[in-house]
Symmetry: C2
Subunit: 462 residues, 2 copies
């Protein structure tokens, strides 16, 4: 945990923003894999952690703003529990460390909320992402399960986003730790991706680095020779000479801050000339985007800049044609770059994803473009100092999309489908870094990892 005053002042600021009602923070429980008691690893809810720092399952916390009370609800371990899991501090000890005065048994929560609702107090909660939380809110507040998400508190969401978006120094130090472990994973990947090995074998080694140095991975590892499929995971596939391997992975620290980087490398010793050419287009888009980052700039505009750089490069290779800006505005680049340029990062790899992109990445006046490609851009709003974001342009030669759009005659003004045809087995390339927005620009976080063709090849064969 951070020091007590951090949690206390975060909560004070939150109360000051929402002003009235009860703020309900459901902590996460354990989730059964194939039986109730055979658990996935425990992951506390990020907002619960942000305001309390308590990394224990089966708790609820509430702030009763109207009555100026903060209460942690949960059950202490019984002596019988300690036979199984060993000693644990009573909840009061955790509460003290978080500056929370009062602890009550979990079974008193429902009646506390019922009494409060009966008196006309509004119970604010964030949109649940675990079904267990939906069930509990439904039962305690007497809301049908189908209605629970709809009755989320937008005021609460906005107040949380207004705090968690800006990373404090101590958070930046945690994020940097996460990115450093993430860098170690990538250095291991570049050295150990080899012809004859399976994707899964190498992914397992990367996960071991994350688990031994931090708490775990921050998201399921993408390690694939089919990088053209954006969220393809590691399989039993064996790597062959000529394969391009895309590795997108991140570590989470013991304090649950995330890293998220991507590198793309040849399975064999060297990139082919064609791979180098495409790689350098992606790297140019990556570097141009980073150069454009500073407070006040719309990230949507940086996304479009990246798209323009990619189109320019593809035109140079004869895969695209026509006016670059027209191509981007029409969305023709989305044949090769179907996703967003980046996202916020913090305690969640897609930070605050559970609170809704419309509140985190967009504003009342800047709404998300619903067109294909653009709708996958999670962050469009103006950047501000202390935001931490990723920049991750890529080129993805997806054979299904190529065949489909060719058959539909889509974007024929901008795409040379005949030239594209031979790229249907090329794969995908992405290069991703984590960055802090500074007063007048940005700063790449964490220790450096080989990024140019020459550096990747050198590290690979070192």
């Amino acid at each position: 945990m951070f020091s007590k005053d951090i949690y206390v002042s975060r909560r004070q600021q939150l109360q000051g923003t929402v002003k009235s009602g009860i703020l309900l923070f459901p902590g996460n429980g354990n989730v059964g894999m194939n039986c109730r008691d055979n658990w996935f690893h425990f992951r506390q809810d990020s907002t619960f952690l942000y305001y309390t720092g308590i990394n224990q399952p089966d708790l609820y916390f509430l702030i009763d703003i109207d009555n100026d009370k903060e209460i942690l609800f949960g059950n202490d371990l019984t002596p019988e529990d300690m036979v199984w899991v060993g000693a644990a501090d009573p909840l009061q000890v955790f509460a003290d460390k978080a500056g929370i005065q009062e602890v009550r048994p979990l079974k008193e929560l429902a009646s506390y909320l019922k009494t409060a609702s009966g008196k006309g107090q509004k119970v604010h909660y964030l949109p649940p992402y675990r079904a267990q939380t939906t069930v509990e809110i439904s039962e305690m507040l007497d809301i049908p399960t189908q209605e629970v998400a709809n009755q989320k508190s937008v005021d609460f969401i906005k107040a949380v986003v207004a705090q968690r978006s800006y990373k404090s120094d101590i958070e930046l130090s945690e994020i940097t730790k996460a990115v450093d472990i993430t860098a170690d994973m990538h250095i291991h990947a570049i050295k150990n991706v080899k012809v004859g090995r399976t994707e899964k074998e190498i992914a397992a080694e990367l996960e071991a680095i994350a688990s031994s140095k931090g708490s775990s991975i921050s998201f399921p590892i993408i390690l694939t020779k089919d990088g053209q499929y954006l969220h393809n995971h590691a399989t039993s596939a064996v790597l062959n000479e000529g394969d391009l391997v895309l590795v997108d992975c991140g570590a989470e620290t013991l304090m649950n801050y995330a890293g998220d980087m991507t590198r793309t490398m040849p399975a064999g010793e060297r990139f082919t000339d064609l791979q180098k050419e495409v790689y350098n287009i992606v790297l140019d888009a990556h570097e141009s985007s980073i150069a454009a980052l500073k407070p006040g700039v719309l990230f949507k505009d940086v996304h479009e800049l990246a798209a323009s750089r990619l189109v320019e490069g593809l035109k140079g290779m004869g895969l695209m044609k026509g006016n670059t800006e027209d191509a981007v505005q029409a969305g023709a680049h989305t044949l090769f770059f179907q996703c967003g340029l980046g996202h916020m990062m913090g305690m969640d790899v897609h930070d605050m994803e559970n609170l809704g992109e419309e509140y985190v990445g967009y504003t009342e006046t800047l709404k998300k473009n619903p067109a294909f490609g653009f709708r996958s851009l999670r962050l469009g709003r103006a950047l501000e100092e202390r935001f931490v974001i990723t920049v991750e342009p890529g080129l993805y030669f997806n054979p299904f999309l190529i065949d489909k759009w060719k058959a539909e005659g889509k974007y024929t003004d901008f795409v040379n489908y005949d030239a594209v045809e031979k790229f249907k087995t090329f794969g995908g390339i992405r290069v991703e870094e984590d960055l802090l927005i500074t007063k007048d620009g940005s700063q790449i976080l964490g220790k450096p990892v080989a990024k140019t063709v020459a550096d990747v090849e050198e590290l690979k064969n070192s």
Copy 2:
């Protein structure tokens, strides 16, 4: 998947047992860690796999016994989905491989069930262990979430247990694969548990072996110098000279069969004399139990045999006293052996745990003993040929329990508390193997792993 006829005949047998109504099989979905779309690794429901073999998320299967229909409900990937996850076979292909005739969109399931219920058909379902399944059943069958578990079908449970308890040859071959990978994990542990390393580092390496050779771990790895706490997981604690390290872990194969073994080893090069002495008591109980296994024997009796051997050994060390059988019947051994001797193992590490111990491990006439210690024995019933079980006796010197029972004056006829006092920092020892019950005895599954003091020390220092 196994061959189609296996799934077809399993379902025929099941229909023949339950005889009427609709059998509903909810497949598992993905579960969000900290956001809806940042998933834990996908684990299909074991019963769904057993009867269909289909290892894909977000499906339901049903057998309408009264109308002789089998229907798989789910949604095919859209071309947009394939941008993200690549090509996938349509559901009809999976259904064909499972011998299922009909595939319908998921949205038609609720009305199918409503119509059937309206006509008076009973909808049988197994007790859900994921909240998402509870929500879905609640919404589709119009049962309050609090009531969903209560309205489970006992007929359905018993029919499933009557099949899954007996492992076929092809299942035994999968379980053996799982135990072989598990053995590799233990061999790695014995060689790599070393003074100065952290528990987490080594646990991460074991998990990497499971993930690279199979699908994953079959349960969260226990790797701890505090083996006296039964379900303690790996922490950042550093191993020191003199520590005993208890490693309980297992792999799951790509077909989702589990292994589950335990070894206990010194952090340093050798066991101390005292550690050897206690180790050999546990090993004697382990071997005596295995020698007693055969069809017809109550596993409850084997558990008591193990307890007797432990008491004999502890008497030899001066920690216990009095008549051995009286001590076991009184439960005095539970100060040192608080859990059960073993459990069924198959697709779940505690096989069919989600269906309820009363149906899996006990019978109408043999009910579980609710006393401390005995109530943690998941399996009490008579063994039968083709059961796969674990045998895992242990001695656990839990300081809380020792202090508590000493203060309460509990079992003073059988326990020499003064002698026990110096064991409060000893730790815990467990030795576990996976076994098949054969026609006239049992057979240890998988490749051998060092088990005697001499063999463990030799492997450690090899």
